[in-house]
Amino acid sequence: MVNVLDLPEEELIYPGTRACAGCSMALIYRIALKALGKNTIITVPASCLTVLHGMQGFCTTKVSVLHTPFATTGASASGIVASLEDKGLNEDINVVAFAGDGGTVDIGIQSLSGAVERGTNFIFACYDNEAYMNTGVQRSGSTPPGAFSTTTPDGKIGYKKDMPKILEAHGVPYVATAISSYPLDLYEKFSRAKEIYGPKYIHILAPCPPGWGYEPKDSIKIGRLAVQTGFWPLYEVIEGKFQLSKDSRRYLDPKKRKPIEEYLSLQKRFRNISDEIIANYRDYIDNLWKDIKTRTKEEN
């Protein structure tokens, strides 16, 4: 268990980035870099993180960053790893891909799947703000049902891809979910991932004030509600073994979970959501936790 005093004081991102006010991706990145340390090379596709990194002529981070076209994040990380292996430096340097949900679950899924299938020794971190926020809030494969986006003016029809499960099905040694509102849990997960050899996948929900339609001050609160309602369970799958994270453990009891409406009603993107879809959310959460309960019993 880490506490806040265990976190390194040094920030690996310079202040004054171009991220929006209340951006939880900026917080995720900051905490993750503290866990990863300076012996790290980052690769990033077109995404909000490209914006955070700033314009040509400045370097916003204290670690090197390679930007790469949208579909290529997994391949780009593979190229860095291959070159480090070629030079015999792969033991000393963490290679970390940081992509948004579009760059992970949509256009990036192929190169991610390939990199993972090859057993590439790297961390892939998806910060999931549930739509193409950088291009102006268009729906992605990770947008949840009923959510408004500029391309789903009547709310999204369909599902949110369960990317951690897809990665788990690849047989990778480490899969985890996290969220910006529980930074110590996030820090621990990155710290753990970097000690494991092979492909590691961390999927981090990233509340987005302009995209989700809430006040910047509510970023932490909304992230906590995502966990407290049971919508976003925090867990790890280490070598196939499921482990519910401490901050989610109490929600095994359905009575401890807050009603999903508390989470949805704070966000303007769900303003016109129907009762039917809300009912679907309740069913979804119930089934999700039945599954978690089974896995928790079976595997512990």
Binding site: S64, V65, A82
Partner: protein, 423 residues
Amino acid sequence: MTITKTKNVKTEQRTKILTGNHAAAHAFRQAKVGVVSAYPITPQSPVVEKIADFIAKGKLNARFVKVESEHSALAVCCAASATGSRVGTATSSHGLMFMYEMLPWASGNRLPIVINLATRATGAPWSVWTDHQDFITVRDVGWIQLFCENNQEIYDTNIQAFKIAEDPRNFLPVIVGYDGYILSHTMMPVILENQAEIDEFLPPLKHHINLSDISVVKGIDPVTTPHIRDRGNEGTAPGYFEYRYALQKALENSINIIKEVHDDYTTKFGRSYGNGIFKTFKADNADTIIFAMGSVAAQARVAVERLRDSGTKIGLVSLKLFRPYPAKELRDYFKTKKAIIVFDRDIGYGYEGVLSYELKSALYNLPEAPFIKGFIVGLGGRDITTDHIIEGVKIALKQKESGIISQKTEFLGLKLDELDFLK
């Protein structure tokens, strides 16, 4: 092409009977590439199969990243190059087109990657046979593009390609093209040079970008602006416009580097390919020139002999360097010629053959510009016979003499009369 072996015979030099694909693979082995990444596609696949074999047998110490697409193959190459390794790949047709997004990315970052392209027609409909459409289609992405006419030239050009790509004045990626099947799967004797001599010619890469040196923090490729950026105490940062101007300048300057590398190679290993830019055959004293590339030029050599026998003062210019386009060199060479007949194994759809219209453009302002007539031949592997070439030359010269010049794009070797539904 002239093959003249110098006297200093190198003891470990070996002649092997190799396909064009395996000649390319041997060149990669001897260039000691650090990272290869590729995806299977006909007719390129034997290049990377051979590389995998070299690695498995311990003859090449490289990382081969076996990716799930060509798009990823070039993305891996870009990232590995930016991390400081010597990298290369091979592809064909749809593979190259799938790589398209990453091509200007590599050149924009000035990454010295080498792609071997076993040329192949582009679908639809499917065709696995050669033409130069894939090679021609990527002419505007900022890569150096060289074309080969035989398997020895593939080997030699690949060694030179890394040297050209990694020249510190330059740093540009290179595509080495050669005809699918006609060279890729045809065996010819190829001289493989002594490794120590190759090492001397091609020392280890000293890259201008090296992510593996983590003591120097680099932010590679953040977003640029249309304008120069003021960085306060740290001076100014270029805008996108300046980056792309620098790329154009590098390509322009690379012509001299390409010649220089070719000449150094000739001095060291005794083989030359014209001036490294284009090759000539009986062209110096000719009035009429056939202008072509790769397999088409090879076939045209036979046509030149036959036309010479019947009294036509004709020769061949075979283009080796397609990008940067050697306009000045071609103008100098062609300024005294009377007629040039261009045979394109490609087409700029809706216009004409690309070699043809680019040559017209290059010679436009000559005081006495030669007559130029282009033909489309051999798309999708259709045979190009000596008769086709001779027919084209005769049609062109007749049009020149009569003054009745067809501006239509003409195809040679079409067999429309054999199609039932047109009868």
